[in-house]
């Protein structure tokens, strides 16, 4: 016999206790430490920092541990934490031209000032499982070292810009909007779009970028340059009257060079797609720059072909995985009331429909 469901509180407490136990796993296996995650699962940490929009490797590693490795859940933990933090200032724009690069490649020039630096990349590894890694504690062979090249590493697009071969992007001086402090209003300007893309779900942006390569909003992109490295974060201190470096962060920047036929007012010129992501997030930054370029069709006088990647409202409304996962999973919540309303409607409509037609044996049985 049913007598009103009680015990929601106890069920929740017990579920949380079970979750904590499962998170720990087999206690005969050593517990994973936050520094281990930070150091050895660094790319997961980077992704959580990028999509969580908070540059803090220790907190990201903690979130990954707490989320049992579910990265979207970890991103959510970081977002919910970040939104409570006070803001005490805005840094001056980071200068990626002065980045201390770990990796810097260009697909458009064989060699260029600053050189091609592969850095720590999976690119030319053979994807064969390395069973040596399964055996713990094997000492690492020393990596060859070289003295750092202190020569400047100019942007490839800056080199093209000197000859006016690529569109100019003058600083309009307009303050960028802040997606985390103002509701998204459409149409969005490019700064706002880039902000949304930088924290967007990597998988979603990857698929959209891939779709442009397959013809849904084609933009003919070359990777003009991809660079990963540390930049200084500088803050203007009013009492001092100048900027001081308050820290350093790793960024991944991708600039694509895209074809542009020219228009009635503009001679033929290359155009730009831009991707900038917190941490080492190479795939994301390349995808971001392709999607950025696809979204610029209107400003560049191109046709809207109906491709999803060109559709600003579609892309920006669905790119955030914390929003998406929350709304998707909310259908797990009880919907008895709505379902009851539908049930009653369907029963009534069926009864009316059956009354109008000849009674079938099944209807008679009912």
């Amino acid at each position: 016999m049913y007598v009103a469901v009680k015990g929601g509180e106890r069920a929740i407490d017990n579920a949380h206790a079970w979750l904590a136990e499962d998170r720990r796993g087999d206690t005969t296996v050593a517990e994973l430490s936050v520094p281990q995650i930070r150091e050895q699962l660094a790319l997961a940490v980077n992704r959580v920092m990028a999509e969580g929009s908070l540059y803090d490797p220790d907190l990201a590693a903690l979130a990954i541990k707490q989320a049992r490795g579910d990265l979207i859940e970890a991103v959510f933990l970081i977002r919910a934490y970040r939104t409570t933090l006070p803001r005490f200032g805005t840094s001056i724009p980071v200068d990626t031209a002065r980045m201390r690069v770990d990796r810097r490649i260009s697909a458009t020039f064989k060699d260029l000032p600053g050189g091609q630096i592969l850095g720590p990349t999976f690119d030319y590894t053979h994807r064969l499982l390395d069973f040596k890694l399964a055996a713990e504690g094997a000492p690492l062979a020393p990596t060859p070292q070289a003295a750092p090249d202190m020569a400047p590493v100019p942007h490839v697009t800056a080199l093209l810009d000197r000859d006016e071969l690529i569109e100019a992007t003058p600083d309009t001086g307009e303050a960028p909007p802040d997606l985390t402090r103002q509701p998204l209003e459409l149409p969005a300007n490019r700064a706002l779009r880039l902000q949304a893309l930088a924290r967007a779900d990597e998988g979603f942006i990857l698929s959209l970028a891939y779709s442009t390569q397959r013809g849904y909003g084609r933009t003919h992109a070359f990777v003009g340059e991809l660079r990963i490295g540390a930049v200084a974060v500088e803050l203007e201190i009013p009492e001092l009257g100048f900027a001081i470096t308050i820290g350093e962060m790793t960024l991944t920047e991708c600039e694509t060079v895209n074809q542009f036929k020219g228009s009635r007012t503009e001679p033929p010129q290359f155009t730009r797609g831009y991707g900038l992501v917190l941490g080492q997030c190479e795939r994301k930054s390349i995808a971001m720059s392709l999607v950025d370029r696809a979204l610029r069709w209107k400003e560049l006088g191109e046709d809207f072909t109906g491709a999803p990647a060109q559709d600003e409202e579609f892309v920006l409304s669905h790119a955030d995985n914390v929003q998406a996962t929350g709304f998707l999973e909310h259908i797990k919540l009880p919907h008895y009331v709505d379902f009851q309303a539908e049930l009653e409607l369907v029963r009534r409509l069926r009864a009316e429909a059956l009354a109008q037609t000849q009674p079938s044996p099944r209807a008679a049985a009912e």
């Binding site: 007598v3 929740i12 409570t84 103002q182 998204l184 909310h330 009331v337 009851q340 309303a341 409509l349």
Partner: protein
């Protein structure tokens, strides 16, 4: 997590001020969707973050909070949200509709009539009543601006042409003070008449969609219909099997695998109150006293 690290009712005062401004604007333009800078909350989008932000902005230390989901105080998400405010605001909570000053709800309006001074906060998944007719926000905002609601009437008409009646059972669209068409959140249409002329303040929060809208007390709210197909609030054609109420909204509970079912009030406070007052339904445990 140290609870001291957070402000009263979790949100910082600047954020509350931003939300309160949006609420005031919403109250000034009943039924109009006001964009607000929705924050990430420590519960998922789609799980009541809009309602939680509105509640957080309304709560004062003297408030008495009630949280319901599907009409019930003890559904898991209602428990979770109530606990959140117990923890972050330390306010008194209640299951009694009459005792509460702020009620956060998902999918129901309490059966017990609300009174002046009470605030009813709705959790809203999709604030835009035209969304399933026109997916673009840029378009639907224009439609509201121009009061261009033809598309909605065509949809309702097509329902009648196809099914003989308007086939919307919940989130049934309403018109507010003859101006804005509004989504009342996914309440069953049974609850729609309670929206109108209600003495309480009704606030609607959609967190993921960053929208707030409101109905000030005694606002006129009309469910959309046609003269020859008037709106009809409907419910399961039964009385509550526990308290015998004939006029409350009912949940259907399947009691075995042979098709047996019973109907019970979805509003648990209403149902237990009636049982305590001696009302009995078809399947009431007559021998047992209900505390």
């Amino acid at each position: 997590m140290s609870d001291d690290a957070y402000n009263f009712a979790y949100l910082d005062e600047q954020t509350k001020r931003m939300i309160r401004r949006a609420l005031l604007k919403a109250l000034a333009i009943p039924g109009y969707q006001v964009p607000f800078a929705s924050r990430e909350m420590p519960m998922p989008y789609g799980w009541g973050t809009g309602g939680v932000q509105v509640t957080a902005a309304c709560l004062t230390p003297d408030d008495v909070l009630k949280v319901i989901d599907q009409g019930a105080d003890d559904t898991t998400n209602a428990v979770s949200i109530r606990r959140f405010f117990q923890r972050t605001a330390g306010v008194a909570t209640t299951e009694s509709t009459a005792e509460a000053t702020v009620i956060q709800t998902r999918h129901r309006i309490p059966e017990t009539p609300l009174t002046e001074g009470q605030i009813l906060v709705y959790q809203v998944p999709i604030p835009e009543p035209l969304r399933f007719l026109e997916p673009r926000e840029t378009e639907t905002r224009k439609m509201h601006e121009l009061e261009e609601y033809g598309l909605m009437h065509v949809k309702l008409y097509e329902d009648i042409a196809r099914h003989g009646e308007i086939a919307t059972a919940y989130a049934y669209p309403v018109k507010v003070e003859g101006r804005y068409v509004m989504d009342p959140s996914p309440i069953p249409k049974f609850d729609n008449p309670k929206l109108s002329d209600n003495p309480a303040i009704q606030l609607f929060g959609a967190g993921r969609e960053s929208r707030i809208y409101a109905l000030p007390p005694y606002t006129q709210v009309v469910s959309l219909d046609f003269e020859d197909h008037p709106f009809r609030a409907s419910k399961a054609d039964h009385a509550c099997d526990l308290c015998g109420a004939a006029e409350s909204y009912l949940d259907e509970v399947i009691t075995d695998d042979a098709g047996s079912r019973m109907f019970v009030c979805s509003d648990t406070d209403f149902c237990t109150g009636r049982q305590a007052a001696g009302h009995r339904g078809r399947l009431s445990p007559l021998s047992k006293e209900i505390a």
